[in-house]
Each structure stands twice: as C-alpha cells, then as structure tokens.
Symmetry: C2
Subunit: 307 residues, 2 copies
C-alpha cells in the first residue's frame, strides 16, 4: 500500500509505503492502513483522506463491496472500520483505484485540458474509469468502467470473468502470459522467448516480451500486435459509445507503448465513426503509478464526507 501527501495543486509532497498483508485478511490490512495513514498525516493539517482500492466500492456509503485481492471481504464497511481504528474524525473518501486514476489524469495529468475522458489501465487485468462533464461516472453500483470486460473477440480466449474474448484476455499481463505459454507449447515455434522467458516470473514476463520484440523476435512482435488490435477494438467501442475527448492508456503494459499503439490506432480508426475517432486524443498516462493516488486525493478534497 502506498500513501502520499498531495497538495491542492495535485503535487505529491511526501510518500510512504507499507506491505498490505492482503493474504491475511481485511482486519490485518485495516490495521496496516490505519498505521500508514496515521504516519502520513501526523502533524499535518490535511483536508481529508482519499483511498483507492482495487475492488467494487459503494463510495456514498463507504462500503467495500468486493475486493478480489483481499481474503474475506464481502460488503465490508471500510469507512466506519477505519474511523474506529484511527480514532479520528478526519473525512475519508473511498473509490475504486482505476476510477481514482481517471480522476487523477483528468485533474493534473494527460487529460488536464478536457472535460471527458476514459482511462484504460493495462495491468495484470484491464481496468478503466470514465470522466464525463468533469465528473466521475462510477455507475449505479460503483461498477462502471469495466472496459476490460468488453467483448472484443466473441469466440476468443477464456477470461477470468468466465466470458470469452474480453479485452482483458488479450491486452493484459495475464493475457501475455497465456499467449507466451500457448506459443511455447508449439515445439516448432522459433523464438528467443523460449530461452529468454525461462525462470522469469509471471509479473516480469511482459517486460521480457517487450525486450524480445525490441530485438525483433517475430513471435514477441505478434503478441504485441494482438494486444494492440484488441485494445484498438476496445477504444473504438468506447469512442463510438461515449464520444469522449480523450482516451488515456495506463498500467504497466503502457511502458511498451511503441510496440502496440500503432496497431491500436489502425484498428480504432477502422472501427470508429469518423467524427468522434478523428477528434479523440489517445494519450499515454502522464502520471503513471501516481494517477490513482492523486485522483484519490482530489476526491477527498472535493467530496469531504464525514467519516
């Protein structure tokens, strides 16, 4: 878990981090979280605390509905639990992490100059967040922006969600792991990835595939083409549906921007309606890993809701 002191201009003044201990359950995480916040705000006069969490959030009621990475979480009243642990009356605002990233990029990042944007975060999975009229649209249940689960290839690879051919099953770190594994199962396939990927952790594999592509490996280049093509279909769907001014691409895979963005733009222009696809700006994240933390701070600043 990472924390930061953010000023009213969206600048980060100080940073801290701590292991979440997510595997040990929500109580353990909450103790760590309260400690991290306590250290961060100690002796400071802060307006509020904003928290971005990977999961489904009911931000109005301060409830963590579901959190895939933390065991035993089911409609957990995180805002009240935190108030108790901290023994403080400082206002706390809670939101999904990809939604926070959308807010951060809109506030002081790539989307600073626009009123509407969609962020697509290409990480282990694919997340997203939607800003319209300068406001977050988080959906009727805090579930909006699940761009990773747009169907891009109806008969495609199985996704973790149970569906087939989701964007996430083609444009995420886990999709890259699948494609590498499937490719290497074919003994005749010539690729430097056979050697290069040996002993590389799943988390680091996209970086290895990036290196192989940069060295000109055809299989690695094909993988990035697949990522790019799926992302392009996703972008076109988002743009045709929402006619936003900007699409921001974030997440770890955005480090390989040059390897997939050409294919994405080709596909998006092929499938997007003329006016909206020509006008939309498609940009790489400006804030990177800090987008979420800065967006959470913005939400705390603007929506001070009593703890």
């Amino acid at each position: 878990m990472r924390s930061a002191l953010v000023d009213e201009n969206g600048d980060i003044m100080e940073r801290r981090s701590i292991l979440s201990g997510a595997g040990k359950g929500i109580d353990y995480v909450m103790t760590n979280l309260a400690m991290l916040i306590g250290e961060t705000i100690s002796g400071k006069n802060v307006a509020g605390v904003g928290i971005g969490i990977p999961g489904i959030i009911d931000s109005a009621r301060g409830i963590l509905t579901q959190a895939p990475n933390i065991s035993n979480v089911d409609d957990y009243p995180i805002r009240d639990a935190l108030a108790e642990k901290m023994g403080s009356s400082i206002p706390v605002f809670i939101e999904n992490d990809a939604n926070c990233a959308a807010v951060g990029e809109w506030w002081v990042g790539a989307g600073k100059s626009v009123d509407s944007l969609v962020i697509i975060t290409l990480g282990t999975g694919v997340g997203g967040g939607i800003i319209l009229k300068g406001e977050l649209w988080s959906g009727a249940d805090g579930m909006a922006g699940e761009i990773g689960h747009i169907t891009v290839f109806p008969n495609g690879a199985k996704c973790n969600c149970g569906n087939f051919g989701c964007l996430e099953s083609y444009a995420s770190a886990s999709a890259i792991r699948r494609m590498v594994k499937e490719g290497l199962n074919d003994n005749k396939l010539e690729t430097i990835l056979r050697k290069k990927s040996r002993g590389v952790s799943g988390e680091k594999l996209p970086e290895t595939v990036m290196e192989a592509a940069v060295e000109g490996d055809k299989f690695a280049l094909w993988i990035w083409d697949e990522v790019g093509k799926a992302l392009g279909i996703g972008i076109a769907n988002v743009v045709n549906l929402l006619n936003v001014e900007m699409v921001v691409i974030g997440g770890g895979l955005s480090n390989s921007w040059e390897l997939f963005i050409g294919q994405s733009l080709t596909e998006a222009r092929k499938r997007g309606l003329r006016a909206p696809i020509n006008r939309v700006e498609i940009k790489k994240t400006l804030l990177g890993d800090d987008a979420g933390i800065i967006g959470a701070a913005y939400l705390a600043l603007k929506h001070q809701s009593p703890l």
Copy 2:
C-alpha cells in the same frame, strides 16, 4: 415530420404530421418545419419547442452538423434559420432523435423510476442514447450513444459506416434485409420466406420475417437468433462499461421482442459481469414512436435556451 403538444407531465395533448420533403433539401424542410410548428403552437401558450432530428447535433449552438436523410446539410445553423422562418422568439431546443427517445423513456416511459439508462433503437439502423445521473450524455460533439457501431463480430458483415461486424449490421432492418437476401441466394435453402417475401418492400421485410418465424420457419427463426445474439453482446458491452440501471429496447424491430429477447438475455448474461448484469433491467420501450417527441418536449421545457 410529426409534432405534438406535450404538457408538463409528458402527456401528448394533440398531434400533427406533415411530409418532410427531405429529398428536396434543407430549405424546403425548414419551410415545412416552421409551418408544422406554427400550426401546432398557434393560439397556445407554450414554454418552448423541442426538436428531435436524425443526425449529429450541436445542441448548445443549435447547429445541425450532419443529417444523413436530408440533402445538402453541413453545419447548418438550424436554430437561427428556424427563428427567421418563424419570426418568433419562442425558445427552441434541438437534439438527436435517439437522444430524445432516451430522455422520453427516462422522463415518463420505461425508465421513469431510474437515474441511469441506455436506450437502443432497432430501426433501419441502430441508434442509442445515454442517460446518467438523470441527464443526457450526448458526448463531446453530440455523437455519443452510437451503440449501433459497437463492434460485435470483428470479422463480421460490412456495415454502412465502413466497419465490419457492427451491431447495426446484425440487429437492424437493413441487417435483416441482408440476411434474407444472402439466405435466398442459396437455392437449396428451404424457407417459406422465398415465397412470402416476394414483392415485399425493404421496410416491411422485418414484419414478414416475424410472421415466418411465428409460423415456425427455421430460417426466419435463425435470423431472429442472429439479431438477438448480436444485441446481447451489445447489451453486455454497454452494461460492463456503464453499469446503468436499465437498458430500454426501442425501434421498429422491438415489435418482434419475443423472437429475439431470449437469445439476447442468454448472450448478455454470459458476457456481462455478475453484479451489473444481474441488476440491470432490460425492458421494451413503453412510449414506442412517441419517446422521441416526448423527450424533445422535456428538453425544451428544462433547457430553455433563447432562439
């Protein structure tokens, strides 16, 4: 062109209609429109005039950007032109017709009880409109809601927009015409549509395919399955992205509701994320052809902008 007097409860008091003469160009249409409005409001004390038009609208500036059905339209200042023709200072509000339908259904139709909905209109083409937080989201250029151009089958049939496999190329009257034509080209195909569709106009063909399906014709039933499946993918994409409370299905094809909705629900549930797809209500239009006219009236009432 149809007009109506609508009261503050969304009830239609009086109706009128006139041929638009769209083929004769925008000036001719405007003269007819001014006449129709004049007759409708003559002797009445109306708060404003709302107009729904198939095309791309810049409603803030009162500009008709593009109108596929009217010749010689390109950034036409429709609000000012109408003021001149009418010689009146009554406030006029202009919006895309599918967006008006979304507003109408939300105000007094199927979506009366919700704050967020998407309408999908299955007509000659497929249109759509988006209501979030009780407000129309018409996009950065008035182009939002083009649900017909979501890609559902990436390698599918060519769409009028130039893309392949759009929802519109599977779930519209023109898609049904294509499927019938392609099917009948196969001389071995046994179907009562071979005889039944002879001499039937393109506009009436979906009705004929509906009748054939009701009579148990396998080919006709297959066509409705195709419509339903494509619509189901479109619904899942919309729901995963926007987490709205309701999806309303309108347009002429919605008359064949029973023939496609089962397949749509199966497909949508397969591809939708659990929480948002289980909670979304999928409803048939309540207002039918009147949704647009009632929605336009609402917009005129709420956004009185000086002509």
